[in-house]
């Protein structure tokens, strides 16, 4: 297979979405498009870390979850009763936590030569956890007891949800700073395992600290940067607009309802597309700058880069933070689009490894490749069920519809997407390891 260029592949992608729109429905096509756009941003984030700097980050799920948490913390209005009941206790324990961290950092710096330094830090952490629980316990109980069916948490700041995307990015970058400080010196396979496990810790914290995120009880009805369907259905201009577009037959209530859904999705698509294009522009600029060339040099030959006087640890930490910030940004976008935050839905297969498949399939080291990967993989992920059903029906045409084997296969259609992902990844790694759109080799 020759290298297809970016334009053709994106045109093909557009046609595929068009076919979905015509064959299935426009609502489905636009929701696929929206999630493709978000996935593309996620895979751009991973691509920055893996493709440009060679850092293997299996903690994508954790950063996405942090981004999702940011939407709750920023956009939800504050729960005043909870703040007055337990806010003080929470603030106190936060101050206590900060003090512990400072104490550890202080010991680490001040007694850097002391033999039992780490034992000391370890002892401090072990001993202070029960104290922390003692301080925060009563207030957490109070907070969680206030209107537990709908609230039972502190709420957020009540700001527009777009802010939370940036906050999600910032929180992710801060988290990446901590993780990077701990893990970036490790060998590549250790880095993979430890980031995977740390993301597990993050998700379990978000899942179980109900005073913060409502945990497994989920936060629903988040704000949107787009209009609501109900408002559209009652507004004069929208009905007129639909009448103009839908000129060949009289507009009924049903058409207005379905087109209001599509209109909202189009609004989201426009916002996501603009975001993607801005990020793409920035990323392309960064990659083609001296800094980008340096990052690739570090990736390809660390020793040589070191010999040129580059501070590898610092640069890798930087790029780890930038990539994670983009992932967190995308995580916030995803939660915004869904309109609800469900911590228990964060699973490594869907939120870490699927994103990795996007990057590897699309082409690591190339922004367009990562975006294409996001589109293709998400498209297959959604459309694999109908495709699998179609194939099953073809291959089992000789069986009757009541055949147990056939019924079992049809019932397990949703799992064929994992099979397609796995086989797709294996085939790409074997026959086209550089991905669909390979990295451009710069010739001088």
């Amino acid at each position: 297979m020759n290298n297809i260029d970016a334009k053709t592949s994106f045109t093909i992608m557009g046609f595929l979405l068009l076919i979905v729109g015509i064959l299935q429905s426009w609502g489905v096509a636009f929701s696929i498009l929206n999630l493709c756009l978000i996935s593309a941003i996620m895979s751009m984030g991973v691509n920055i870390q893996w493709g440009f700097a060679g850092l293997i980050n299996f903690g994508v799920m954790g950063f996405l979850a942090i981004g999702g948490l940011a939407t709750v913390l920023i956009s939800v209005p504050p729960v005043v009763e909870s703040w007055s009941a337990g806010g003080l206790g929470i603030l106190l324990s936060l101050i206590f936590l900060i003090l512990i961290i400072y104490a550890c950092l202080f010991i680490n710096k001040r007694y850097s030569k002391y033999k039992y330094k780490y034992h000391l830090i370890f002892a401090i952490i072990i001993l202070t956890i029960p104290v922390l629980k003692l301080i925060s316990g009563p207030s957490i109980k109070l907070i969680e007891s206030i209107n537990p069916a709908a609230q039972g948490y502190l709420g957020g700041l009540g700001l527009p949800i777009i802010f939370s995307w940036f906050v999600g990015g910032l929180l992710s970058a801060a988290l990446a700073f901590v993780i990077g400080k701990i893990c970036l010196g490790l060998r590549s396979d250790y880095l993979a395992i430890s980031t995977l496990l740390i993301s597990g810790i993050i998700v379990s914290v978000i899942k179980h600290e109900e005073w913060l995120s409502r945990g497994v009880k989920n936060v629903i009805g988040l704000k949107r940067p787009a209009p609501y369907e109900v408002d559209l259905q009652n507004s004069e201009w929208f009905i007129n607009l639909i009448e103009i577009i839908h000129f060949w037959s009289p507009t009924t209530k049903g058409i207005i309802i379905s087109s209001s859904g599509i209109f909202v999705k189009i609004c989201f698509s426009v916002i996501f597309l603009i975001t993607l294009l801005i990020l793409l522009y920035l990323s392309e600029r960064a990659v083609n700058s001296p800094w980008g060339r340096m990052m690739r040099a570090i990736r390809d030959n660390e020793t040589a880069a070191k010999a040129m006087g580059k501070n590898i640890v610092k640069q890798q930490l930087n790029i780890f933070m930038i990539g994670s910030a983009i992932i967190g940004f995308a995580g916030a976008m995803l939660v915004t689009y869904d309109g609800l935050f469900t911590p228990s839905s964060y699973q490594p297969l869907r939120y870490t490894f699927l994103i990795w498949v996007m990057v590897l399939l699309g082409g690591s080291g190339n922004n367009y490749g990562a975006i294409l990967g996001g589109f293709v993989v998400w498209f297959i992920w959604i459309e694999s069920a109908p495709i699998a059903l179609f194939l099953i029906n073809i291959f089992t045409f000789f069986l009757e519809n009541e055949n147990i084997f056939k019924i079992h296969l049809i019932e397990s259609v949703p799992y064929f997407r994992y099979l397609m992902m796995g086989v797709g990844l294996l085939l790409v790694m074997r026959y086209k390891p550089e991905g669909l759109l390979p990295e451009k080799k710069i010739k001088f």
Binding site: I129, Y190, I193, P348, F353, F416, Y418, L419, L425
Partner: protein, 336 residues
């Protein structure tokens, strides 16, 4: 008397469960560590290989049951185990031939191997879910308890009843037997020694005429046997659910690294370290303290170090600490 009650309580909820869970983790961790030592990559598909092996065992259990075959007080799954192991070995070798061999010959980087093992993880995940479905399956049969709480209370007159489930005893006995055979194999036989030599220094091993293909074949066979046994024991003890098996990969990795990656004996101990710390730190000691202290307290505090929700987080935290300060593992010993 109170002391005995406290001890029984501890044994019921901490000691016996951690030994059982530790054995299951230990078997899995030895498998991961062997693959790492010989093939030199972290196999992310191992959790799903365990699920696959267990699935085969379950299918054979059902088949045997439908023929009316069972083992009386023992679970039928023990009879189905050899068949499950055989199928798992075949699948492992199939993936080795079709996938890993190519990259081995190309001498690809460890990261490539990890990525490829992700692909296999997806495939196995799908296969298991397509064949047996994503739901919880209980396939334990035979007698449930060796010592049940009610009988024990009647016999001794103590307030707390000692409970030992038959699955716990089966797990411990099977693990001891498997590990005994495995370590004898690795330390005493010529093949085992050549495996250790290969893991220690590939070039020298090749120089002294060790056949790498044979070593790799045997590694996959042993790893598949361990995966199936560990998975089946876990499934007998709790229940079989594909998603849980994927999640179990994480504590297994933690156990492997805590014990020093590539070191089977370390992995064995690592499994117990992880299991004990997970269970001991999340157990609520309220009743235990109540028995030991002379005065009775009715505080609502459960006296629990960390809530049970953070069970997995503990093993991850241990792992992170080990990775930062002692990346070679806390157990010094020979690399396999």
């Amino acid at each position: 008397m109170d002391f005995l009650n406290a001890l029984i309580l501890l044994s019921n909820f901490v000691i016996v469960p951690s030994i059982t869970y530790g054995s299951q983790l230990a078997l899995g961790a030895i498998g991961v560590t062997l693959i790492y030592g010989i093939l030199r990559f972290a196999n992310f598909a191992y959790g799903d290989l365990m699920a696959f092996g267990t699935m085969c065992v379950i299918l054979f259990t059902w088949l045997l049951k439908s023929w009316g075959v069972n083992l009386g007080i023992f679970p039928t799954a023990l009879l189905a185990l050899p068949f499950g192991i055989t199928l798992t070995i075949i699948v492992s070798l199939f993936f080795d031939k079709t996938v890993f061999e190519y990259y081995r010959n190309k001498k690809s980087s460890p990261v490539t191997f990890i990525v490829v093992s992700l692909g296999i993880m997806f495939v196995l995940n799908a296969v298991v879910r397509i064949i047996i479905g994503p739901n919880d399956i209980v396939f334990m049969d035979g007698s449930r308890f060796i010592i049940s709480a009610v009988d024990f209370k009647e016999a001794t007159g103590l307030l707390e009843g000692l409970t030992i489930k038959s699955t716990q005893v089966i797990t411990i006995i099977t693990t001891s037997l498997t590990c005994f055979l495995l370590f004898n194999f690795l330390n005493k036989t010529k093949t085992g020694k050549s495996m250790r030599a290969y893991s220690n220094n590939e070039d020298l091993a090749l120089l002294s005429g060790i056949d790498p293909n044979k070593i790799i074949l045997i590694t996959w066979i042993i790893a598949s046997i361990l995966a199936t046994i560990a998975g089946t024991l876990y499934g007998l003890d709790k229940s079989f659910k594909p998603f849980t098996y994927f999640n179990n990969l994480l504590p297994i990795f933690a156990a492997t690294i805590v014990g020093g990656i590539g070191n089977p004996l370390g992995a064995f101990y690592g499994g117990f370290v992880i299991a004990f710390s997970e269970i001991a730190l999340t157990y609520a000691y309220k009743k235990f303290i109540f028995y030991l202290l002379p005065f009775s307290s009715d505080s609502t505090n459960l006296i629990q170090y960390i809530s049970t929700d953070y069970k997995f987080a503990i093993s991850f935290a241990i792992l992170v600490v080990v990775l930062i300060f002692k990346p070679q593992g806390i157990f010094k010993g020979k690399v396999i």
